[in-house]
């Protein structure tokens, strides 16, 4: 009962936080510098890992597809498989998971620390809504950056797949053939669907991160607990929402 109550309590405070942040939208021009800082931070921290991870995901996908499709004589379709999987599913999901692990956790830790050390209270007494100063820049930044990172993740994943096809002998598919097949099957809509997913996941991760951070109570030990809670909740949310978004987009 307490956990159910806690869930709805958290959901309610998250919705109120988002509402207060949206109400502060007219102040957005004044927080552009903070938005730019957050966007830089998100890109800077996630891009290197996204590059490594998506390159190998693309490569592994091509390798697995190559092993299976070779037996059916359909290895020409590796490009389509890797291309569509990356664009529609793996690109946005992997970027969102990395966002939760790198950026979401850091945001929770920072806000939780601000809460524990009374900095958030100081903002309230100064009549500066914490949602305007701490949440809105992060939400805007994640909405700006997520599509860009996702497209880059897709391209890197495709490159990984193409390189595996080119250099793994038993697949025997040139990179040129890989990309021609990819081009003929993967549409702009596939990429756009992936970008929509990325926006939704990014927004969710940041809302969970900020809400968990701002709801932290107690001492420094709670900061660590909040970070863990934020990452776990984000992962559950990404994969749960993914199913429904995929269904709607399909």
């Amino acid at each position: 009962m307490t956990q159910i109550q806690g869930f709805f309590d958290s959901l309610g405070s998250g919705l109120i936080m988002v509402w207060r942040a949206l109400v502060s939208l007219p102040a957005a021009p004044r927080i552009l510098k903070r938005v730019a800082e957050q966007a830089y931070l998100i890109g800077y921290t996630t891009l290197p890992i996204v590059t490594i991870l998506c390159f190998f995901i693309g490569g592994v996908l091509a390798l697995q597809a190559g092993i299976t499709l070779r037996d059916f004589g359909a290895k020409e379709f590796i490009g389509a498989l890797v291309g569509a999987s990356m664009a529609r599913e793996l690109g946005p999901v992997m970027v969102a998971i990395l966002l939760a692990g790198r950026v979401g956790s850091a945001a929770t830790a920072e806000l939780a620390s601000m809460r524990v050390y009374s900095e958030v209270d100081a903002l309230v007494t100064m009549n500066i809504p914490p949602e305007r100063l701490l949440v809105l820049p992060r939400l805007l930044a994640v909405l700006l950056v997520m599509p860009v990172i996702t497209v880059l993740a897709n391209i890197i994943g495709w490159l990984g797949g193409a390189l595996v096809c080119e250099y793994v002998k038993f697949i025997g598919l040139s990179a040129d053939q890989f990309f021609r097949n990819l081009q003929s099957f993967v549409t702009v809509d596939d990429v756009l669907d992936g970008m929509i997913k990325a926006e939704i996941f990014g927004f969710l991760v940041m809302v969970i991160a900020c809400n968990t951070g701002l709801r932290t109570r107690g001492g420094p030990r709670e900061i660590g607990a909040s970070v863990t809670r934020s990452v776990v909740l984000s992962l559950i949310a990404i994969l749960t929402v993914d199913y429904f978004v995929t269904k709607v987009l399909a």
């Binding site: 209270d121 007494t125 009549n127």
Partner: protein
């Protein structure tokens, strides 16, 4: 003793402010922290809240600052609810936190300039003047570009007080303003509190353990004990009190012949 440098420029839009606490109680779960507290802080008064650790002083201050809502009773500032942003805005209510509560990612300058910048109070040059004036009063102008993490505890406290001065508040709440400060700086803080009263009619509510400072600057002192209000009286009256708790708090005796002390000595 008045300050040679006034914390605020002259303003004529400031009205006297009364803080009223009526039958306030607060419980966290089963723990009763405040019980039936009623007091009235008059305009321009320096009102000190004293009491042993854990007596609920800081909790009461957080309620007056509008950071928490009481379980029962009401708190008003000129009849308005301090939890409402409009009330805090109207009286520029400022709270000096015990820990300083400085924004660690911002420099000292940015910490002080945040309030006027966010509220578009004045042009940037005027904000700069305000910030530098506050820093000079607290003798920390050399730290203007430093980050809070680079400051000592005492300096952080001074920056927190400077940040409150930049807000030009009509109600200024201090939570242990002189803890971590040397006696000279503690006297400066007392001087600032006195000047704000004399020259700007600022209503000050001070939570403090510093008995000497409190009895020197206070117009009236409230003594809290286990969440209950024991007394509200001018310092002279309080010193003459025969209440054993107040007497013990104001004149603590250090008895090295204390049996507990002897036991500890023996066991070590």
């Amino acid at each position: 003793m008045p300050l040679t440098r006034s914390p605020f420029p002259e303003r004529d839009d400031r009205a006297p402010v009364t803080v009223e606490v009526t039958h306030v109680a607060k419980a966290y779960g089963s723990q009763q922290v405040l019980e039936d507290i009623s007091l009235k802080v008059e305009p321009g008064e320096i009102f000190v809240i004293m009491g042993p650790s854990g007596s609920g002083k800081s909790v009461l201050l957080r309620h007056i600052a509008g950071l928490e809502k009481p379980s029962a009773g009401t708190i008003t500032i000129n009849g308005l609810d301090p939890t409402e942003p409009e009330t805090r805005n109207r009286f520029a209510l400022a709270l000096v936190f015990q820990s300083g509560a400085l924004f660690n990612s911002l420099s000292v300058y940015d910490n002080l300039a945040l309030y006027p910048l966010e509220h578009h109070l004045c042009p940037k040059q005027e904000i700069r003047d305000r910030v530098m004036r506050a820093l000079r009063i607290l003798s920390i102008e050399h730290a203007v570009q430093k980050l809070p993490a680079e400051l000592s505890g005492g300096m952080r406290k001074r920056v927190a007080i400077a940040r409150a001065l930049v807000m030009e508040p009509q109600v200024l709440l201090y939570d242990e303003p002189t803890s971590e400060l040397d006696p000279v700086m503690a006297a400066t803080i007392a001087e600032i509190i006195g000047t704000l009263k004399q020259e700007h009619d600022v209503t000050s509510i001070v939570v403090s353990h510093d008995r000497d400072l409190s009895l020197t600057i206070a117009d009236r002192v409230a003594v809290l004990h286990h969440g209950k209000l024991l007394a509200v009286a001018p310092p002279a009256e309080l010193k003459a009190s025969t209440d054993p708790i107040i007497t013990e708090f104001l004149n603590p005796k250090i008895d090295t012949a204390n049996p507990r002390f002897k036991q500890l000595e023996a066991s070590s």
